[in-house]
Amino acid sequence: MSRIIVVTSGKGGVGKTTTTSNLGAALAKQNRSVALIDADFGLRNLDLLLGLEERVVYTALDVLAGECRLAQALVKDKRLKGLVLLPAAQNRNKEAVRPEQMQKIATALAKGYDYILIDCPAGIELGFRNAISAAQEALIVTTPEVAAVRDADRVIGLLEAEGVNKISLIVNRVKPHMVEENKMMSVEDVLELLGVPLIGVVPDDEKVIESTNRGEPLVLGEHESTPAIAYTNIARRLEGEKVPFLDLLANQGNILSRLRKIFGG
């Protein structure tokens, strides 16, 4: 049974595309076959984060227009067996696709892959409708900030109204030292507000940006990093494994804030 999962958030720039690329790579590393759909028509960048931009020939729109077969449009990741990308068109606008068409593509892909991950555009208009139309499950990405959490709540409401009830939350760009000093909402705070189950916590980390520079998902990097472990753990949880959440402060050696705590600061 394959799973069609949309990665969405409402707000832009919170980490949907970063999450989609890393989760795709992590699942493929765990020997799953994964098709990633870039549903951000007009502003595609999933190909860039995966480092596959040079190999894009056809896009989802060409498939829909009958200009190529679905299999021809899929870009295979040479580093990882089982990972493919269906690129979005860059030069045409979001209005070019309708929900039924996206559904067709996703269901066709579901026949050949264990996971279909759909990278959703920001907003709640047609692009969003397209991206969620085929989804059976959703991963909500948010950051511990007011605007992102508010938008996440709206999107959860919209998904529920559409009958997508299997919804899990990823809290991205957590800054542990800020949380410790009560300058940022904690993961627990966000969970309490949104009321959907947690599937992952990803720290704010410069390595995320470095990996996008290279076009190489973190989970493929030579060196293990906290965000890479966080993404791998999300993939394992998707697979049904019980994996404890990372203690993000553990390897930070945050002595000063520890001291403050001890002295009742």
Binding site: E145, R150, G157, R260, G265
Partner: protein
């Protein structure tokens, strides 16, 4: 306080309390049509038994976790007499008291379950 720099207003609590309000408001306003319709229906039923002060009444949704609760504050002007009520009920075939079921909201499942008698 030993470390004064730790004493600036706690912005995390600020974020959280603002979000609580705004999220409750968002969740309620998305369903404003439904809320209006429900208000009218509830008032219709209540009005059969008591006279409600429509000017003073309050009807609101509030939020806690993913549980939304409906608070209706309906000041009663006058309670109808029993005789009047029974006569009204006889005339009104629309309501059959025997058939009214108790509806319970399941906190976890988030869906309504009816209690069989």
């Amino acid at each position: 306080m030993l470390f004064p720099w730790n004493n600036n207003a706690n912005s995390k609590d600020c974020a959280k309390s603002r979000l609580k309000l705004i999220i409750a408001h968002d969740r309620a306003s998305i369903n404003s049509d439904m809320l209006m319709a429900m208000r009218e229906e509830i008032l219709d039923v209540v009005a059969r038994y008591v006279e409600v002060d429509r000017e003073e009444m309050e009807f609101s949704l509030s939020n806690d976790q993913r549980m939304t609760s409906l608070t209706a504050n309906l000041p009663i002007r006058q309670i109808k007499r029993l005789g009047e009520l029974q006569k009204q009920l006889q005339e009104n075939n629309g309501i059959d008291l025997q058939k009214i079921e108790v509806v319970e909201i399941d906190r976890n499942e988030d869906n309504a379950k009816s209690n069989p008698k």
